[in-house]
């Protein structure tokens, strides 16, 4: 069920990125997509009432396996957040430069590229 909610957030992000005319809103839409995907991946490794994947001596191996959450998706999400930050900063930099050139954030007024 919660996976469907993730997908819903993802689709809202797609809508924002594709249908909005303001550059800032497009950026927010893309970031919403990014967060939906990150949330989805971290949920994949989640287990209800799970413990942190650190094994101490009092625990048997089978108990550890049945209780702990999967650490690998967390590593994925960390990587993907850093990549997202890179893209976000580049996008914002380009948006600021675009504002300097055109004096507006409206993409319908940026139409020097045609054909």
């Amino acid at each position: 069920m919660i996976y469907y909610l993730c997908f819903l957030v993802f689709l809202i992000g797609v809508y924002g990125a594709l249908c909005k005319k303001n550059i800032v809103k497009i950026i927010l839409g893309l970031m919403l997509m990014e967060y939906a995907v990150n949330l989805f991946i971290v949920l994949v490794g989640y287990r209800k009432g799970g413990i942190a994947p650190i094994m101490n001596k009092s625990m048997s191996l089978s108990e550890f396996v049945s209780k702990s959450v999967d650490p690998l998706p967390q590593a994925f999400v960390l990587t993907s957040i850093v990549i997202g930050l890179g893209i976000l900063s580049l996008m914002v930099a380009v948006a600021i430069r675009l504002y300097e050139r055109y004096g507006t954030f409206d993409i319908t007024e940026m139409k020097k590229l045609r054909g």
């Binding site: 797609v14 893309l30 989805f40 580049l90 996008m91 675009l98 590229l113």
Partner: protein, 495 residues
Amino acid sequence: MIGPQIFIALPLGMAFFIPMVSRKLKWFPDVSGNITTFLLLLFTLLVAGENTTYYMGNWPPPFGIVLVLDGFSWFLLLVINLIAFMSTLFSVSYMEKLYTSKLRYYSLFLLMVAGMNGVVLTGDLFNLFVFLEISVISAYALVGFGCQARELEASFKYIVMGTISSLFILFGIGILYGNFGTVNMAQLAQFIRGDGFNNLIAFSFILLVVGFLIKAAIVPFHAWLPDAHPSAPSPMSAMLSGVVVKACGVYTIVRITFNVFGFNPMISNIFLYTGVLSMMVGVILALIQFDFKRLLAYHTISQIGYIFVGFGLGTPLGIIGGLFHLLNHSIFKSLLFLGAGSVEYETGTRDLNKMGNLIKKMPVTSFSTLIGSLSISGIPPFNGFWSKLIIIIAAVKAGRPVIALWAVIGSILTLSSFSKVQKYAFFGKGEEFDKEKWSDYKEVPFLMRISMVSLSILCVATAFFVYNWTEGPLNSVIKILTDGVLPYINKILGS
């Protein structure tokens, strides 16, 4: 002994080393950039025919990241590093005159090369995503390198489309991980073989394919390409059209369909229909262009369509055609972009209407661009003719004569479009031709000529691959793709 790791480590290291050193040493970016790409090309030629895997951090395959150097990866490495070397050679004089910051240019360039080498070498799906992002983020920055209004606009468009496609890919990888608990490509292939093609796998497959199709600029998703590719500096356009589209789009999609998910008739149809569509749409839109580089960018869409048709046929002959056309297209398209760059370097314009009679002032540029145009239009004896011929024969043999017919029509339209280029720019003159400016033009500097002439020679030389295609360098690649999933699993995981 050169392992596959060097192809990632060397350009990545240099990308960070160049900005550190070159604030004091102005000559350093040119020299080190060229030496790095030359070394990469040399290493690629040295590891020809090798078949090795490298475990990052010495973790064995299902747990750690594995780099796989097989025939297909080697083929793409050759394409990437060859074009990268030619582009850096061209950049030395070109960037001097038209742009300012060389050290940032070379740094981003090498970062992009590192990312693409990583994409073609990795055997791990999440790692592939990371390298993909490294290469496309530097490509976004390089598209907007000039910081003029048009370039920024193109760059922003490219960022939006690129990010959407990357997130589709990441979503697909997330679903696959949730389903199978692994991102190792060989192990995924094993599990998918065991499970069959159920709905969840199909969903993740569609997400991945859509993501990679956007990266490859196949027709329903092509809108960013004709803006982004012409806006970059010309050697960079050569890289984008010649290599980035193929390494990030075509290679990845072919690898995951042939070696991970397994090739089937449904996938074949997706390849064929989108391929034919982009073949035709690209070339028809190219016919009406008067911006030299934009015209070339539309032809990229069309030629990528040919490559997709070749792979989509799925027969060994079709795959040979696709691979051969991939190599040829990267050579002649980068040649044409470099030619357009030289024309822009001298005349300061990309508008075909304002050019004219350049053959008398710039003979080397004109003749190499002529060779490129003849190759892309499929005139014998140049390489483009043979690869298109193989694709057309393969289509007829696979019982799809209609697709062969479309390919022929596309080729004729390409010829007409390039005869327009030749008429306006080199042999005849455009409508707004300015005779006074024309008398000041002269041939471009030596290094730019060298890279164009060597690419023209390659246009003729690669045509000879066709004589021994059953034994030649393409053979090991075809075996990897036609054998399908199982040998790939055995190679990485051990049987």
